[in-house]
């Protein structure tokens, strides 16, 4: 059912799809990895395409996978904060709060690396030429991404992750700071 809904969800959260491609394009640019094809958004599956030359070391591939997730999670939490505060407080958010919340949610939801990127990182961490440090960091990261990917098939994990980081944590912060 969720597979059928994928293009619809992608269309509803299109800023995240565009940001997903743009972030990786930016990383490729910073690390001098040629980008062969970019499609920021389209109706269909996949909803965005970025073809780039293979990264020539594990650290670069690691960065391609992790950096957008890290940055967009923080950005999404900041953007989702006003909406989370409105619900934690008076319960009647303004239009701007909803707009910010939707944008934050979209960014975080699409921040996870794709299957192909995780598979490539997996190949790098298994490679005998990869440094021990990168293997130590890379293995658990790959495992986490694989588990998240499987979870997303059964329980819409990326959406739940976005709700948690955009709204859930800040809501809990209010509960904590308000005291018993």
């Amino acid at each position: 059912m969720l597979f059928i809904l994928d293009p619809v969800i992608a269309a509803l959260t299109f800023p995240g799809v565009i940001a997903h491609q743009a972030a990786r394009q930016l990383i490729c640019r910073v690390m001098n990895i040629p980008v062969l094809e970019v499609c920021y958004f389209r109706f269909g599956d996949p909803s965005g395409i970025l073809r780039y030359e293979s990264a020539n070391d594990a650290a670069k591939q690691y960065l391609i996978c992790v950096a957008p997730l890290f940055c967009y999670t923080i950005l999404g939490a900041v953007l989702g904060f006003p909406l989370a505060m409105a619900f934690a407080g008076h319960g009647s958010p303004q239009f701007v709060d909803i707009l910010f919340g939707w944008l934050g949610f979209s960014l975080v939801m699409h921040a996870f690396p794709s299957q192909e990127e995780v598979t490539e990182l997996f190949a790098w961490v298994r490679n005998s030429d990869t440094s021990l440090l990168m293997k130590i960091i890379g293995w658990p990261t790959v495992m986490v991404f694989k588990i998240c990917s499987i979870a997303s098939i059964y329980c819409w994990f990326y959406g739940l992750f976005a709700i948690l980081f955009c709204f859930g944590l800040s809501n809990q912060l209010v509960v904590f700071l308000a005291g018993p």
Partner: protein, 167 residues
């Protein structure tokens, strides 16, 4: 959403750059020289994307700037709710009074303020609050709460009048 990095088997490595024909490849997957590689890698972002990124950053800054005040308000609400749950009505009344001044048009806040005022025996304030609400468009559940409070207020005022007449 999915990306595809270039498969190593996609293009055979040749001695010449496939972009400009220069020799001296650096051994990367794509058969282009360093100069062309940099040129491809530095492919510019479209203007609409740059503008959108700027707007998103601006929105994030606005959200960030608003955060401390919004957090303070949310904590005040939560604190008031906690007082009401614990039936510390005088504290709840004071907390909701401050909030209803900040958000005079908020039905939920005013209803909670009226409830706290009724329980803490601030009948005048409860009556003022109810008068503010009666002209607003409110939902069915809020309407039911409002009616309940109006009844409570009538009863409380009757008891108060009776006590005063006994004196």
């Amino acid at each position: 959403m999915k990306e595809h990095s270039l498969d190593k088997s996609e293009g055979p490595l040749k001695a010449q750059c496939q972009q400009c024909g220069a020799s001296g490849l650096d051994g990367e997957v794509m058969p282009v020289c360093e100069r062309c590689r940099l040129a491809i890698a530095r492919h510019d972002f479209p203007t609409w994307l740059k503008n959108s990124a700027f707007i998103v950053l601006l929105m994030a800054i606005i959200a960030g700037v608003q955060s401390p005040s919004k957090l303070a308000i949310a904590i005040a609400y939560k604190s008031a709710q906690n007082h009401a749950i614990r039936e510390e009505w005088e504290k709840a009344f004071q907390a909701y009074q401050a909030l209803s001044v900040k958000f005079p048009g908020n039905v939920g806040t005013t209803l909670s303020y009226v409830e706290a005022a009724l329980h803490s025996n601030h009948l005048g304030e409860a009556s003022d609050g109810l008068q503010l609400l009666s002209h607003d468009l409110i939902s069915e559940s809020e309407g039911a709460r409002l009616l309940g409070f109006q009844e409570d207020l009538k009863r409380a005022l009757a008891i108060q009048t009776e006590k005063e007449s006994q004196r």
